[in-house]
Symmetry: C2
Subunit: 218 residues, 2 copies
């Protein structure tokens, strides 16, 4: 029972800091997106394609979360946007406090969008609010269409689902209709995009939607 109490306290503390982060983002008019997925679903590739499309017209920064290495930060930095890397040293998810600390290293002035790439993990990050406006779960076709049913927490807590690697559908055992049906069964209000970072299919539609989010201030 003591463990449950500690866990609850951690989550309560996290929610307090997440609220402070959220208030700060709203004051500054920054739309913040928290990207979550399994390892290798393509979060970094989607960020790269999005930066390529939007960095000319919007001011964007990125916070990268990884268990180890700054490989993703290096990939994103090539697009000449400010990037802060959080290395969790084994930690399985980002927390609001880590984001709060990372913000000390970012100039928020005039920023339109902040992308936070969470640790690759389809379970734990679901419970940790970072203060984002939009949680984006990325699921690749190679992972199988049953994943929303098997990892419901993440799909329930997200507002956007990006289905990635649609170019691989001919080669894998994935039923796209079933994948979407399963996701909407868990969360009927999910906004779904279907993309391929390889062919760039669907990337313009996703970026158009994102542009509107910035204008509306979310």
């Amino acid at each position: 029972m003591s463990v449950i109490t500690v866990e609850r306290k951690i989550l309560e503390k996290n929610e307090q800091i997440a609220k402070r982060n959220r208030d700060l983002f709203q004051e500054q008019g920054i739309v913040v997106l928290n990207f979550v997925s399994s390892p290798g679903a393509g979060k970094t590739s989607i960020l790269e394609k999005t930066l390529q499309e939007l960095r000319g017209s919007l001011k964007i920064a990125v916070i990268e979360g990884d268990v180890q290495t700054d490989l993703d930060a290096q990939r994103v930095a090539r697009y000449e946007v400010p990037v802060v890397q959080i290395v969790t040293l084994g930690g399985c998810h980002l927390e609001a406090k880590l984001v709060q600390d990372a913000l000390q290293n970012l100039d928020l002035n005039g920023l339109d969008l902040l992308f936070i790439e969470n640790v690759g993990n389809l379970v734990c990050p679901a419970n940790y609010d970072l203060g984002e406006a939009i949680k984006v779960v990325v699921l690749s076709t190679t992972e199988g269409d049953d994943k929303p049913l098997k990892y419901p927490g993440m799909f329930l807590n997200s507002s956007v689902l990006i289905i990635n690697k649609i170019d691989l559908i001919p080669y894998v055992n994935c039923n796209l209709s079933a994948m979407k049906k399963n996701a909407l069964q868990i969360n009927p209000s999910l906004r779904i995009f279907e993309v391929s970072c390889f062919t760039e299919a669907g990337i313009p539609e996703w970026c158009t939607w994102l542009r509107k989010k910035d204008v509306s201030g979310q």
Copy 2:
């Protein structure tokens, strides 16, 4: 600091029960494998192919771990082996106690192999010994060759790496040599198998190795 203490106590308790599980498995001469990976890397497909190949000559049972649903247990049960499903209801990894409880529902008498399929998560299950003889990490080519460097804990704690979905290499941005090099950089003693559950390439080699493990009693 109190959180660290609690976590340490949980791990100590887990290790005590894992040791009891391990003693029991050794007494009974059962070789136990704990399969870990990201969601969708193909743990269940590998189990299905392995059961198809070995169930005629060896007595095998399966424990399935999932956050939610018994979809995997249903898939495995088609091979007419005893299966026990553990649903963690949001829990991000299996623990030794859950396996100990699951064993109450299995007849261990005369069993050669016990496969435990962990929750799909490349981070948290690394720290929880279940009492297995062999931890098998499954990594699919679609996840990218950088994953061993980004999630080192799991590769360090495993003794076998199965690289799955090698049939998809022509269609994805994965350098197989770099993937193996990265894995061996983290853990030079990893035994690596390259397989495709779609073409069945590499499955016979993996099953031959497994058969020898049974004979040697590991």
